[in-house]
């Protein structure tokens, strides 16, 4: 297990180095040039300034030279300066990462608990009407376009009923806890509805599998109550695949809510990545994309480890 983890960590590190170069190269292929943008927005810049800036940023240098300069600084902890936010990249990233974790963490817990209930209910009565209804609902959840769902929720609850704010993170002003929570309701609802379908299908499948095992029949034959059979014996077996799916979806926590955050103008990582890419903010986009990649890969490793930890039959190689 330790050997496996060590090898995987090395692989992740290698993958991150590779991805940092790929993303660095790709970002150079985006339309526009940050210095041209600076020149366009500031009439006081002279041609000499521009030449100086171009030398400073290494424009015209070969790709590898520029990449190594960036990598050297990044390894020393200097990820550069964000052009859009006029602040160091790290200082821009961290609060947004926190915002994203709040948004995604709460919808993740909510969706998982609901999916657990729905999935178990469906699995206990296979081929019943309840099962069919839950299955259809789960399909609806995985099929709905997130941005459309967000639009409908905004239309109904923000424009129509005027119960909830349509976007942002607080009203202008102090922003106490109640205000923050009010702003969280619609984005969390969007994400929960969008993710509950997939989780429910996994729980349902895992529970059906678990309920069909021999030891369940034995437990029933011994006279164990239905509740004990379901919650004690079957859920234990079902938890292994469920935990794997949960760990995997944890990886999307950093970037998965891009569309939802964009729709609700919620200042999280997804929106940050989108804005940075669209706004030619190279340093910020690079750091944010790499962070999202690192977390996703770490979650994949966690999924494998959880699988082996929960199921002693699994041997990691």
């Amino acid at each position: 297990m330790i050997r496996f983890t060590a090898i995987r960590l090395v692989e992740i590190a290698a993958m991150l180095v590779l991805m940092s170069f790929v993303i660095y190269a790709l970002i150079g292929l985006m339309p526009g040039d940050p210095i041209d943008l600076m020149m366009a927005s500031d009439p006081h810049l002279t041609t000499a300034d521009v030449a100086r800036l171009k030398a400073l940023y290494g424009v015209g240098q070969p790709l590898l030279t520029r990449y190594f300069a960036w990598a050297h600084a990044a390894l020393a902890g200097d990820l550069g300066y964000s052009r859009l936010f006029a602040a160091p990249v790290v200082a821009t990233l961290l609060p947004r990462l926190g915002n994203s974790l709040v948004l995604l963490g709460s919808s993740f817990v909510l969706a998982f608990l609901l999916a657990l209930g729905l999935g178990i209910a469906a699995a206990r009565h296979p081929r019943s009407r309840l099962d069919a209804a839950i299955n259809l609902g789960a399909f609806a959840g995985v099929s709905v376009p997130t941005f459309w769902l967000a639009l409908i929720l905004i239309l109904v609850f923000a424009q129509g009923l005027r119960w909830l704010p349509a976007g942002g993170i607080t009203d202008a002003g102090d922003g106490n806890i109640a205000d923050r929570l009010r702003h969280l309701v619609l984005p969390v609802a969007t994400l929960t509805i969008a993710s509950i379908g997939g989780y429910t299908r996994y729980v349902r499948a895992a529970m059906r599998d678990a309920l069909g095992q021999d030891h369940i029949r034995t437990a029933r034959a011994k006279g164990a109550s239905e509740a004990r059979v379901v919650w004690h014996h079957a859920l234990r077996g079902a938890l292994v695949p469920i935990a794997t799916i949960l760990a995997l979806s944890f990886g999307t926590l950093v970037s998965g809510a891009l569309v939802t955050e964009e729709m609700f103008a919620y200042p999280g990582m997804g929106k940050l990545i989108f804005d940075a890419v669209m706004g030619n903010d190279y340093n910020l986009a690079l750091a944010a994309l790499l962070l999202a990649t690192a977390v996703t890969m770490a979650a994949n490793l966690a999924a494998d480890l959880a699988y082996a930890w929960l199921d002693p039959r699994v041997v990691l190689r």
């Binding site: 296979p126 099929s143 970037s255 890419v277």
Partner: protein, 284 residues
């Protein structure tokens, strides 16, 4: 299985028959009529008109044609490429297998949407693609298909590899080999037919996923570009007008939803039909 097939068939036929509908309505999907903007449903415009007075029904059918074409083309292309890679990995084994599958794992382990946004925003001119092609209206379609294939090939590759590993040990494959059959013949006649069923299921499911991906990218302004329109790009235009005319946003979204859920239900029904035992435990 019948209902999703019917829904998909109806949408596809209606989208293909758009020119006939246009003829019947004496209009075409790009005909601008600024006097009749935001018109309600009428005989001439069964679903009303949009912000430029274009007929909503015709626009929806036209958008459906674009969305479905992208979905099906990309799903088939991804399945074909994935099958090739899966066959190579499973049949050749050894280092080829290890490298290809590590690569597939790597693609799966990436945060795809943010990276796709970077790829979708690339300046094709800087990539050395000739200007006449980079500027043509078809380029946005090609670009989305390429992006969808880039992330979509892994499913087919893993499926085919798994089946190949199992099948190549079977007696009829060894018999064929001992009779002197060429590798290509073995792959094509003996191994591929054994993966067709799961491959068809996976491809059907991926059509829905790709239509969703296309709609997200188009909605963010990175997908289908005017003068072409897809359901996603129609929604993107409608978002600004959501307060005054919500129907402009509700129609295309409902079409995406209907199409994607029909693809998913069809895939699920196919799974049950091909392998009733498997369907009970399948994750999706």
């Amino acid at each position: 299985m019948r209902l999703p097939l019917l829904i998909l068939g109806a949408i596809a036929v209606a989208a293909l028959a758009m020119p006939l509908v246009a003829l019947a309505l004496h209009s075409d999907p790009s005909a601008v009529d600024l006097v009749n903007r935001f018109a309600g449903p009428s005989l001439a415009h069964p679903l009303g008109t949009d912000e430029l007075g274009r007929d909503m029904l015709l626009r929806l059918l036209e958008g459906g044609r674009v969305s479905l074409t992208i979905g099906i083309a990309a799903a088939v292309a991804a399945a074909a490429i994935g099958t090739g890679i899966g066959l190579a990995a499973g049949y050749l084994g050894g280092w080829t297998d290890r490298i290809l599958m590590r690569f597939a794992d790597g693609v799966i382990a990436l945060p795809l949407l943010p990276l796709l946004i970077v790829l979708a925003a690339l300046d094709l001119g800087k990539l050395g693609i000739p200007g006449w092609f980079a500027q043509s209206p078809a380029i946005s379609l090609v670009r989305i298909v390429v992006l969808a294939v880039l992330v979509g090939w892994t499913t087919a590759a893993r499926l085919v590899r798994g089946a190949t590993l199992v099948t190549r040990q079977r007696d009829f494959v060894r018999a064929a080999r001992s009779l002197g059959a060429r590798t290509f013949h073995i792959l094509w006649r003996h191994i591929l037919p054994n993966v067709t069923a799961p491959l068809v299921v996976a491809t059907t499911l991926s059509v829905g996923d790709i239509i969703l991906l296309e709609s997200v990218l188009s909605f963010l302004g990175l997908g289908v570009q005017p003068p072409l329109a897809s359901w996603g790009s129609m929604l993107s235009n409608a978002e600004e007008l959501i307060t005054s005319s919500p129907l402009l946003a509700i129609y295309p979204g409902a079409m995406i939803f209907l199409t994607v859920i029909a693809c998913n239900l069809l895939g699920d029904a196919l799974l049950t039909r091909f392998d009733p035992r498997d369907a009970l435990t399948a994750g999706r």
